[in-house]
């Protein structure tokens, strides 16, 4: 069964009627990730605004835990943390920053608590594969940290300060200026937490848990001609994390990271044609101080061109070409030394807007990676607005992940003969609307082949091999409600996620994949007063590969809430109470997260 036959089947099952489906571009806001709006034509994407992110201001882990379907494995608050989407692993989740894949070249994954949290204009969360557009690792899903720049808004600024439990101080300053041709935005953030929380029920003290980080974001966009902009976005991030120890005499370790990301983009936007040429440089430096000291420097030079053309109002073609050089230097015990690889890729997407209510997209991508062969990737999507209360969307794709530098070159053990992991997947989104309610039900199926797993070689070290096969299926559902009457505004958003993810060799559920997760967010606003609540239920989660209940994490429910008031239109003061129910809970065995804790915030808008 191939795509052609599959798509042919779909085509004949629908009526063709003529209509114009071209999307109008809005030119008052410049968005760096120019693919995101196109992705949204076919996929369900959850968007979090800066105000949503502020609700979980400790770290990115909390944002994702309480406001997305992702399962977050966190070794104590603020320490090592990794995501899992749809029963896949952390390495099968792609993090992108303004459209650029930022997963570590060494680890193949994003370390969630070492990714800057503040200064984005949107955080977008997309379940399901997206390797054709977003590259290696976009198998289970992707998390997009995006910036935009608006025009004609004049000057504005925000200063936010927060004092929270466990010696936590968080300050954030943002300023922006724009006229009809020029837009500028800068933000800075400093977060420090002593993070010495205690969980007496577990006889646990979060010893050596202190963390602090500094982030700067700066963006500029300039309209050089009608329909043409030159834009630049950069991020500087500097973080220190100490890793919690269980006993006073345990081996203390610390992780430091310095990240630089810089992207320049030249965009042309005309009614039929658009082109975005991007050059980017990203640099990740890290140092690990422990029993063994190690570290690494990873530099990536990226050149990307995205060409989009409407052949006719109904047919749209999109060609994306990319070249990257990834350079890695391992320091200390990893013994990786100096390595680099060149990656070239060409992707083509064809979109067909049959009617206003029916559209299709087919994509294909081929990578040319030095040293190993990479599979041809493809994607197919269709979306049909059947009635005004129901729409239906189907996606089918092949995605992949490169072996990381550690997989290939770690000493001893690195295996240069590894193949990329690959996956085939399908998902459906059914969206129902009734009054102010919207319900989305998304069943999915993912099969991952050649999954890389480190195995004991029997010679005193471990090596990675393409041995695992994993099958994951499940259901994501989301119910939203939004209503404004008089001066009351209500927004509710609740999700239920069922995930069955099986290692096909052992026929057991993968570790750290809960079968059930429920999360809910409620917002209520009356005049100057805002109230919100967040709840998250996490079902039984196995931590060992044999589904042992002895080592499992038991179901828990955590509730957070906050209230804020706007005074004199400029000043906002607020109080947050996290874990109101004082639940003892863990996302990783032996590492409980904090019990009830508090924070006070104050903001000035100018």
């Amino acid at each position: 069964m191939d795509i052609k036959r599959f798509s042919a089947l779909l085509f004949v099952s629908f009526n063709f009627s003529l209509c114009f489906g071209q999307e109008k571009s809005i030119d008052t806001v410049y968005i760096f990730d120019n693919q995101m709006n196109k992705v949204k034509l076919f996929h369900k994407v959850t968007t979090l605004a800066p105000a949503d992110i502020q609700k979980n201001s400790s770290n990115l882990s909390e944002v994702l835990r309480f406001q997305s379907p992702v399962y977050i494995k966190e070794n104590g608050r603020g320490a090592v943390s990794s995501p899992s989407f749809r029963g896949t692993t952390a390495q099968q989740t792609a993090f992108t920053w303004n459209g650029i894949n930022i997963n570590s070249q060494f680890l193949g994954q994003g370390d969630v608590n070492n990714i800057a949290l503040f200064g984005y204009d949107q955080m977008e969360i997309k379940s399901g594969g997206g390797s054709v557009i977003y590259g290696s690792g976009a198998i289970g899903g992707s998390i997009h940290l995006n910036n935009d720049l608006s025009f004609n808004k004049g000057f504005s600024g925000t200063f936010n300060s927060e004092i929270a439990s466990f010696g936590t101080f968080n300050n954030f300053l943002k300023a922006s200026f724009s006229n009809d041709k020029f837009s500028f935005k800068v933000s800075g953030n400093y977060l420090i937490s002593q993070n010495d929380y205690e969980v007496p029920e577990e006889n646990y003290i979060n010893r050596n848990g202190k963390y602090h980080n500094t982030t700067y974001n700066v963006g500029i966009s300039y309209k050089i001609a009608k329909n043409q902009t030159i834009s630049w976005q950069s991020q500087f991030y500097d973080a220190t994390q100490n890793y919690p120890i269980f006993t006073e005499n345990g081996n203390k370790s610390r992780y430091e990271a310095q990240t630089l990301r810089s992207l320049i983009s030249w965009d042309i936007n005309k009614s039929k044609l658009s082109n975005s040429l991007k050059a980017a440089y990203t640099e990740d430096n890290f140092q690990y101080f422990g029993t063994y000291n190690s570290g690494g420097i990873n530099k990536n030079y990226i050149l990307k061109n995205d060409f989009n053309y409407f052949i006719s109002p109904k047919w749209n073609v999109n060609i994306i070409g990319e070249f990257q050089q990834n350079q890695g230097e391992g320091v200390g015990t990893s013994g990786i030394g100096n390595v680099n690889r060149n990656v070239g890729s060409v992707a083509g997407l064809l979109r067909y807007f049959t009617t206003l209510n029916l559209r299709f997209e087919a994509g294909i991508k081929k990578d040319f990676v030095e040293g190993f062969s990479s599979p041809v990737l493809y994607s197919f999507s269709g979306k049909w607005q059947a009635t005004n209360w129901y729409n239906f969307n189907l996606n089918f794709s092949k995605n992949y992940r490169f072996p990381s530098f550690n997989d290939l070159y770690w000493q001893p053990g690195g295996n240069p003969d590894l193949k990329p992991e690959n996956s085939i997947q399908a998902d459906m989104n059914h969206e129902f609307k009734a009054g102010d309610f919207k319900l989305t039900i998304s069943p999915y199926y993912i099969r991952i082949n050649d999954m890389i797993r480190w195995l004991d070689t029997g010679l005193g070290y471990w090596s990675p091999f393409n041995t695992n096969k994993v099958e994951s299926y499940g259901l994501e559902s989301q119910l939203t409600y939004e209503k404004q009457f008089n001066q009351h505004f209500i927004k509710l958003n609740a999700g239920y996620i069922y995930t069955k993810s099986t290692d096909l060799e052992t026929q057991k559920q993968l570790t750290y994949v809960p079968l059930h997760k429920v999360f809910g967010n409620a917002d209520y606003q009356y005049k100057f007063l805002k109230v919100y609540a967040q709840g998250m239920f996490n079902g039984l989660t196995y931590t060992t590969s044999d589904e042992s209940r002895k080592y499992a994490l038991y179901p828990y429910f955590v509730l957070n809430a906050g209230v804020s008031a706007t005074l004199l239109k400029k000043y906002i003061v607020g109080i947050k109470v996290n874990n109101i129910t004082d639940t003892v809970y863990k996302t990783v065995a032996y590492y409980p997260l904090p019990k009830r804790n508090y924070s006070i915030t104050a903001s000035i808008n100018f």
Binding site: G250, P412, D456, L459, Y481, F537, S545, Y554
Partner: protein, 352 residues
């Protein structure tokens, strides 16, 4: 009102799941004493305090896992490297906790915790009224620490240049494995010796006497039996057993011609038992010079833990993502006696 109805629905939904999932795992162990049987050490996973000890009775019919937590109501620690006995006590060496838990060997109740000057402790040996612990952080600390048995007070230490791994007592001396394996820089990561020494330490004055063994193969193991220390070394063609005369600082060699990459050595009832990297287990008489041609048995899995006690061969197929499998064989004919699951990362077997 609409919203409260909606919230009710959500909470009803949540409740449903709470009810449908069982509450916490309850494990109650029958209170027993541990004098007649074998302790099994499970090192646990790195950076988690999930190391544990299992116990199986001498008839191999009764198994208890997690006996430390059951008897002490606390987690044992992070990476249980080894276990040793002295008098009425058992000493549990916890590598990544930098600690030794001293427990009663019959009740398994904790008696003391030792942490002074422990830096990634590895192995332990006893001599007279002192005990000796190797420490190796693969950096600035590669040493042997001495402690008093009576009050666990720290006495002194002696350092080594390259490694400090196994340690045994033989003939009133402490013998330390001061060389081992390292790996070449490129795939297939060729195994290389760090050197070829063992060092004899005199307990009374902590003086060192370094013995350089022949530069054949790589030192893999060091054991003690009836007052003598034995070193196992192996390479790609042959393996070697060196019997150390600890007072004279000399040694005699038994060459295991044709046995490649032997990994672990044990002695039970005057017989050597050793396995190679393909998990073939061989036996030969202590005084014999005839090298066995056929293995007694080939164990399954990774043979992470290996010991021969009371005519039985204990081998673990260690898992670090779940319980490890233990196979027990008859040491005279290699027949499988029993199989059971112990804890995470099973790495050793000890007679109590």
């Amino acid at each position: 009102m609409k919203i409260t109805r909606f919230l009710q629905l959500i909470f009803a939904f949540i409740l449903l799941f709470n009810v449908s999932c069982t509450s916490d795992f309850e494990q109650t162990l029958e209170p027993i004493t541990y004098e007649n049987g074998y302790f099994i050490t499970n090192e646990g996973s790195f950076n988690k305090p999930d190391a544990e000890v299992s116990f199986v009775t001498q008839d191999l019919n009764f198994l208890q896992n997690d006996i430390y937590k059951a008897n002490n109501n606390e987690n044992l620690g992070d990476v249980l490297q080894t276990m040793a006995f002295n008098g009425s006590k058992a000493y549990l060496v916890l590598n990544n906790s930098n600690a030794i838990q001293v427990v009663d060997r019959v009740t398994f109740k904790k008696q003391a915790t030792v942490t002074t000057n422990l830096v990634n402790p590895r192995y332990i040996a006893f001599s007279g009224n002192q005990y000796f612990v190797t420490n190796n952080n693969f950096g600035n600390v590669i040493q042997l620490n001495a402690y008093n048995v009576a009050d666990n007070s720290y006495v002194s230490n002696v350092s080594f240049p390259r490694t400090a791994e196994k340690v045994v007592e033989a003939g009133g001396k402490i013998i330390v494995q001061t060389d081992g394996v390292t790996y070449g820089p490129a795939p297939n990561f060729e195994e290389l010796p760090t050197g070829h020494t063992v060092t004899i330490v005199t307990p009374s004055n902590m003086s060192k006497l370094e013995i350089t063994l022949p530069s054949n193969g790589i030192i893999r193991d060091l054991i003690s039996y009836n007052g003598d220390a034995y070193v196992l070394a192996s390479g790609n063609t042959n393996s070697y057993i060196y019997k150390i005369n600890s007072s004279a600082g000399t040694f005699t060699t038994t060459t295991l011609t044709g046995i490649t990459k032997a990994q672990k050595l044990r002695i039970d009832s005057n017989k050597f038992y050793f396995n190679d990297n393909t998990n073939k287990i061989y036996s030969m008489n202590l005084t014999s010079t005839t090298v066995p041609t056929n293995p007694l048995v080939t164990s399954t899995g990774n043979a992470y833990g290996f010991n021969v006690i009371d005519g039985r061969i204990f081998v673990s197929d260690a898992s670090f993502t779940g319980p490890s499998k233990v196979n027990v064989y008859n040491a005279s004919n290699g027949l499988l006696l029993t199989t059971f699951n112990a804890g995470i990362g099973t790495n050793g077997f000890y007679k109590n």
